[in-house]
Point group: C2
Chain length 369, copies 2
Amino acid sequence: MSTATVSDRVFNFSAGPATLPLKVLQEAQENLLCLPGVGASILEISHRSPPFEAIIGSAEADMRKLLNISDDYAVLFLQGGATTQFSMVPLNFLNKEKSADYILQGAWSKKAIGEAKKCGNVNVVWDGSSEKFSRVPTQEEIKPTSGAAYLHMTSNETIEGIEFHYDPNTGNVPLVCDASSDFMHRPLDMKNFSLIYAGAQKNVGPAGSCVVIIRKDLLEQQVAGPHHTMLDYKKMVAGGSMHNTPPVFTIYILSLVMKWLVNDIGGLDKMHELNQKKANLLYDYMDASGGYYKPHAQKGSRSLMNVTWRMRDEDLEKKFIKEAKAARLDGLKGHRDVGGLRASLYNAFPYEGVEALVGFMKEFVKNNG
Amino acid sequence: MSTATVSDRVFNFSAGPATLPLKVLQEAQENLLCLPGVGASILEISHRSPPFEAIIGSAEADMRKLLNISDDYAVLFLQGGATTQFSMVPLNFLNKEKSADYILQGAWSKKAIGEAKKCGNVNVVWDGSSEKFSRVPTQEEIKPTSGAAYLHMTSNETIEGIEFHYDPNTGNVPLVCDASSDFMHRPLDMKNFSLIYAGAQKNVGPAGSCVVIIRKDLLEQQVAGPHHTMLDYKKMVAGGSMHNTPPVFTIYILSLVMKWLVNDIGGLDKMHELNQKKANLLYDYMDASGGYYKPHAQKGSRSLMNVTWRMRDEDLEKKFIKEAKAARLDGLKGHRDVGGLRASLYNAFPYEGVEALVGFMKEFVKNNG
C-alpha cells in the first residue's frame, strides 16, 4: 500500500485511544529515526539518558504549570492504565480493618468497586443505577462515611457520557478521582483532591501511560505491607516514575501534548472554552431535533468529552453509523455495553469535526425522517 | 534544531531500551500520521478496531511461528515490564503454604526473589554471589525442591553479562524463566518451560510492553484468590491481552520487529548465527588482548547479548567511555551497580558496529598502552 497523507485522515470520534494533535504527530514523525542531537530514535534511547531525563522532566513541569500542581503533590507516570489503579488505590490505602467510600455512577466506577472489595470494606455512598447512570450525584447526595480511608469518584464516565461539573466536598475524607476520560480538559483545583489518576490515552497521550497525582502526605496513610514494588506508591514516588523502565515513547508523546497545550492552545482555560463550544454545538442541535436524537445524559451531568445519544430504534442507529463512516466520520458507535451512539470530543478533536457531524445529522434527518 | 537523518545515527550499545531495526523505524515513520487505509494514526486508533486486531494478531502469529509455540501455550502482551512479572508470578502461584525455587545469579534474579518472598517461602537453590555472578549454574548444581510451586531462572543477566546456554531440566517442577534480555535471540524449545516472561525493550520492541508465554495447564495451579484483575494470568488469558487498553503503539512496533525477523533475517536460527558472530568477534579480541580488556563472565556463561568487561583502573575506563562516545560508539558504560564496560549486542545491533568497536579498542591500546 502507498503512504497515507494528512488528507487521508478522517474525523476520529473514538473514545480512546483517540485523536492527537496533528502538530504532535508531525513532530514525532519528523524525529522518529533520530532525535536531533542524540543520534538514536526515541524508541531506542536509554531511560536513564540525559535526553530522556529532559523529556520526562519537561512533561512533568508543563503538567504542573497547566494544572497549577504544588510541591505538596507528586506526579507519576505509570503503566497498566486506570484498571491497574483500580487495584493500586485500595492495595495502598484499604484493608480488612478499614472501609472506603465509592460513588457508583457507571461502568468504570463499578469496576473500581470490584477491585476495592478484594482489599477491604466498600461503602457505596451513592448508586445511580436506577437512573441508568444518566447523571452524577449532587453535593447533597454525597455523604462521606466518618473515618473512611478515602472517597472514590469518577469525574467522567466514558461509556455513559456523564461528567462532574463540580468538585465534591468530602470533608476530612481524602478524595480520590479517576479522571481518565476528562483529565486536563479544564483547569482543576488540586487542593480538592488527594489523588487523581488517569489512563492517558484520551486527552494527554497514546495508550500505555497512566498519570497519577498524589498528595505526599497521603502516602503516610499507607496500610501495613508487604507491598509489591510496582504497586507501591511510596516506591514509585521515591523512584521518580523510573523504578523500572518507563514507557519512554508514550511519555515523549505526552510531553509534546503538554507543549501543545501550553504553546498552541494557551492553557486549560482556553482548552475548556473550546471544549464547551464543541460539546454545546452538538447538544444544542440534538435538543432542538424534536427528539430525533435523544441525549442519554441529564442536563447538568452532560459530559463535554463523550456525548452519548439514542435514536428511534437500533436499525436506524446502525444505518446512521454506517453512513457516517462512509462520510469520513469514524468511531461513532456507542460502547457495546450500552449501545446507541457516542461522539468523543477530546482536547485534540477539532471544532470542524463537530460541525461536519451536525451537518451530517441534519442531512440524515431529511433522508430518514 | 533541524531534522536529524539516518546518517546522524550512532552505534547504540545501550542495554535497553536498545537499537531497533532501521527498516522498522522507517516503516513506523512513514505511517505515523495515518495508517494506510485506516484514516488515523496508530497512536489514535481504538484497540477494539479491526486494524489493531490485525496488528496484535500478526504479532502473536509471527511470534508463535518463530518460536514454534503450540496451542498448549497462551501468548500475552502485558504492561509494567519484567518487574511487574517479579510479583505477578508469585501472586499467582505462591502463598504462605507453598514454596518456590529461585536461582540467585545476578541483580535481576535478586529482585525477583525479593518480590516472591512477599508471597511465600523461597528456596535459593543456587547462589552465584561468591563468584561475583560471573557464571550460571551447571545442570548438576540445580537441585529442584520436591513439591516446589516452580523454579525461577533468569536466562540472561543483563547487568553482569552472563547467560544460560542450555535449558535446565527441573523434572516435575515447572520452569519459569525471566528472558527479558535474551528473548528471541535464538530458537527455544518451549516444552522445557512452563512460563517465560520478557520485558520487551531489548530484542523485540520499545519500552512499555512485556511478553508472557504461559502453559495453559499451569493456570490450574493458581493459588486461591482474590486476585486483582490486572495481576491475574487467568483473566489476562481470557481477555486475550485486551482486558483493558493495551499499549497499542508498542505492540505495533513489536509486530513490525516480528516481520523483520521472519522476512529479513529468516528466522531465529539465522538470528542466532549472526548474534554468535557479533559476540565472538568481541570476546575473541578481548581474550587475545593480553589482559588489557578483561571479560567479566566465565567462559561457558558468556552472554551473547551483554558483553561486560573491566580495564586496568576506573580512570582508564572513564577515558575509554568518553573517547568511544566521541567516536560515535554510544552507551558503553557498565551498569552503575557493577561499573566497568558493557556492550549490548541485541538482535538489531549491526555487525559493523562491533567491527567499529573492536577497531576503536585496538587504537585505544596503542594510545594508552
